[in-house]
């Protein structure tokens, strides 16, 4: 059984062949993965800092009915329709969660749980009744089909073929996210870490929150068909948390997303190539492995640096017993 599950590891067929025989599609898949991780990682830093990780999970699930219903009406993968559907679903999610926990005694966590499972169920029902095997597969919702991206129609701008459309869109979204973070850096920084201070400085705290939510929804919509609704959450959280074991300042956290994205994308692609499994899943497995490495070896709060037994090795460093790590 072992041989069956783990095919013999042949470095040539895993690492070299895909780049030699099918360079274009390999490059496109890796690029798509990179863009997905980049866009999600940049937004994800703020999501993690604001403790919205599970809200991100809820939103990514509840956008599904919006996307699915947009599919039913336009019967195509038209991005504007999907975005409108997703935006409606996103607003509906927020409104319903607020309604339930304001107007009844149900706690916010249960309200989130009820709303996102319901909307996701609506999405799955819509897909399995009207769309199954035609435009959108129910399973694709759960783990994406990034491997099929090279087969999609091309994006042609003034005669020049710029590769498959999803890649162009994902790249544009990643670029947009980065630009937004650069432009609104100060506001995002202060509102994420000290909302009280931001308010006293006259910063638009609520507007920033909703702006971030819209950017998050946009990113999730663009990434959804590549990696599915559950794994997109991993792309949001893993980069920020992993870099957090090496750096503490926000610029470093943001810059750290790029090399990690490349690592996830390449590592995931080759792992999937070896095991013949879902690429998106393998990307997250890579992310998980890197997280575990950082958890053990990261200089800021990594397990080894914290351990008493090995503490003497790092006695000179200040974070031998770092106060903010305790507890």
């Amino acid at each position: 059984m072992r041989e069956e599950f783990f095919p013999t590891f042949d470095s040539v067929s895993v690492f070299v062949d895909p780049w030699l025989s099918g360079f274009e599609s390999t490059f496109q898949v890796v690029l798509m993965g990179f863009f997905v991780c980049l866009a999600c990682g940049v937004i994800g830093n703020f999501v993690v800092a604001r403790r919205l990780a599970l809200v991100g999970d809820a939103i990514s699930h509840s956008l599904l009915p919006g996307i699915a219903i947009a599919f039913v009406f336009t019967s195509s993968r038209s991005l504007p329709a999907m975005l409108i559907g997703a935006a409606v679903a996103g607003v509906l999610t927020t409104v319903l969660i607020e309604l339930i926990h304001r107007k009844s005694r149900v706690k916010p966590d249960a309200a989130i749980g009820i709303v996102f499972t319901t909307l996701f169920a609506v999405g799955v029902v819509v897909i399995s009744i009207w769309l199954d095997n035609v435009h959108l597969d129910a399973d694709c919702v759960l783990y994406g089909e990034i491997g099929l991206v090279p087969l999609r129609e091309s994006f042609i701008l003034s005669g020049a073929n710029l590769g498959p459309l999803p890649i162009a869109i994902m790249g544009a979204v990643a670029l947009l996210d980065i630009l937004l973070v650069i432009v609104f850096y100060r506001v995002l920084l202060v509102t994420s870490f000290d909302a009280g201070l931001a308010r006293s400085l006259g910063m638009p705290v609520n507007t920033t929150h909703y702006g971030l939510m819209i950017a998050l929804a946009l990113t999730i919509v663009a990434a959804f068909e590549a990696v599915g609704v559950v794994l997109v959450v991993a792309m949001l959280i893993f980069p920020a948390v992993t870099v957090g074991f090496f750096f503490e300042r926000l610029p470093a956290l943001l810059f750290g997303v790029a090399p990690l994205s490349l690592a996830y994308s390449l590592g995931g692609f080759h792992l999937a190539r070896w095991l013949d499994c879902s690429i998106a899943g393998a990307m997250v497995v890579t992310a998980g492995a890197l997280f575990v490495v950082a958890w053990f070896f990261g200089p800021k709060g990594g397990l080894i640096y914290r351990s008493r037994a090995l503490g003497f090795l790092f006695a000179t460093s200040k974070q031998k017993i770092s106060p903010q790590i305790v507890g």
């Binding site: 599970l54 249960a110 009820i114 169920a121 949001l236 013949d276 997280f291």
Partner: protein
């Protein structure tokens, strides 16, 4: 916990009630596959698959509903979601190990994966600065990704394709085997036993952990037992509702029950009932739609129960709350009108028996039309009767005369008494300035009950007059209205000349 004992009875009832229909309904045309026929097939329990699906839904509803009560009470809803995703690699490994859909192997694998996920969440939180939500998200998506990878590998293998392993993602109640169902039954019975045995401990640790610790309840042990039970419930429900949506079965029925009751025992009973009903409706729905995935239908059924309770629940429902508020507003408005009528009568030293609508309007500082409407409301509520000018048109509305009925007089006296007593209490006992007490009394006059009034009267030594020198209506005044008292020594003097 008497209510809990009724759950097994209910389970048995459902079990016996459905086969009874087989004899009641005639066996119709079999070739037709419209929804009526499908419904009949479902209800008659003719197929083994349907029987398994129904029994499975019942067991699933009981175990998830019971544990869900504690999930909601302890605010573990998002933890439940994480747990349900984290079991996926265990499901896949169990499948890989047994090379078939062997329930026991899958059960063991999934339980281990779920417990490992729990441990990892706790470990991340203990050893790092990562916040709880991120820790849950990491485990949720990381474990899930491992599961997806193994699952997609299995689907490439020769035995994996026809295995129905993909049914674990969205659930398929019709694919339950009898071994699956008996495993679910064991877990449901275990859940029932656990809830009955540890009822007191679970209750006290769920709501006041500090107190539980101080009275010597093994809090950690109870939490551990609960987590293991929760994992069992999630794992056995996987095949019927799927990995992604099983958390809804933990949260929604319990949240629905939470809207309907304040007692934990009733909550657990209702939660299990909603879970069972949602499971049955869901598997019926998926059966109707030619074996669509069950999970989404179960979730939608549970959510519709929640929506009904949310809007129409007797105590906490939105519609009920709105109705109650509207009644209160109407009551306050009626009482204010009666109070104004009393004050008009008082201004004339109770020489007249009636109040004109014009005088009422002047007193209430509203238009005559508005005062007329208020007077009509009073008449409709039986607190007053009206004489004249109905046919003369709205122009003469202000001359219409309003007579308080005995009930109206009684309530008006009570309201005025409450108001003035409270003003006196604030000035004499709380030492408020006399010009600051009116607004407060305006609010409290509508809610003071007789017990508090007696108490105030005792504190204030049966006062006759309020801080502004106005007479406080006495009990005699109130009772004269209903003809209970013939004592002529009333404070206001009203009715004496009648």
């Amino acid at each position: 916990m008497k209510v809990l004992r009724t759950i097994p009875v209910f389970v048995l009832l459902v079990f016996f009630a459905f086969p009874a229909l087989v004899h009641a309904a005639r066996i119709g045309d079999v070739t037709d596959t419209d929804w009526g026929e499908q419904t009949f097939r479902f209800l008659s329990l003719r197929d083994a698959a349907v029987r398994n699906a129904v029994l499975g839904s019942v067991f699933m509803g009981v175990s998830c509903g019971l544990f869900g009560g504690y999930v909601v009470a302890r605010r573990l809803a998002l933890f439940g979601d994480t747990l349900s995703h984290a079991v996926l690699p265990g499901v896949a490994l169990g499948f890989l190990w047994s090379r078939s859909k062997d329930p026991v192997a899958i059960f063991i694998g999934a339980t281990l994966a779920g417990l490992l996920g729990t441990v990892v969440v706790a470990w991340i939180r203990k050893t790092t600065r990562v916040k709880e939500d991120s820790a849950l998200g990491l485990v949720l998506s990381g474990f899930y990704a491992v599961g997806i990878c193994i699952l997609t590998v299995i689907q490439q293998m020769e035995f994996g394709n026809q295995s129905g392993i993909d049914k674990f993602l969205f659930g398929q109640a019709a694919a339950l085997s009898s071994e699956d169902v008996s495993l679910m039954g064991v877990v449901a019975i275990g859940a029932l036993m656990m809830v009955t045995l540890f009822n007191k401990e679970l209750l006290v640790t769920s709501f006041d952990e500090g107190f539980a610790r101080s009275v010597g309840v093994p809090v950690e042990f109870i939490r551990y037992v609960l987590l293991v039970g929760l994992t069992f419930a999630v794992v056995t429900s996987l095949q019927a509702v799927g990995v992604v949506l099983v958390s809804a079965l933990l949260i929604t029925p319990a949240a629905t029950a939470y809207l309907l009751t304040d007692r934990m025992g009733t909550l657990l009973l209702l939660s299990a009932l909603f879970g069972v009903a949602g499971g049955l409706l869901g598997s019926y729905g998926s059966f109707l739609g030619n074996n669509l995935p069950t999970g989404p239908f179960v979730v939608l059924a549970c959510t519709s129960f929640f929506a009904i309770a949310f809007f129409c629940g007797p105590k906490h429902g939105l519609a009920s709350k709105w109705l109650r508020r509207r009644n209160r507003v109407r009551q306050v408005s009626l009482e204010n009108t009666m109070k104004a009528a009393y004050q008009v009568l008082e201004a004339g030293d109770f020489a007249k028996e009636s109040v004109t609508v014009g005088a009422l309007a002047a007193r209430r500082r509203t238009s005559v039309t508005e005062a007329r409407r208020e007077a009509d409301d009073l008449v409709n509520a039986g607190f007053a009767s009206m004489l004249g000018s109905d046919d003369a048109g709205p122009r003469y509305s202000q001359d219409a005369r309003l007579f308080l009925t005995p009930a109206g007089w009684e309530r008006a006296c009570q309201i005025v008494r409450n108001h003035r007593l409270w003003e006196l209490y604030l000035t004499n006992e709380v030492r408020y300035a006399a010009d600051h007490v009116h607004e407060d009394a305006e609010k409290i006059e509508h809610v003071l009950g007789e017990t508090v009034v007696r108490h105030l009267e005792r504190i204030l030594k049966d006062p006759r007059r309020d801080p502004h020198g106005k007479v406080i209506p006495s009990l005699e005044d109130i009772e004269r209205g209903s003809g209970l008292s013939t004592n002529p020594a009333s404070a206001t003097g009203y009715f004496q000349q009648n």
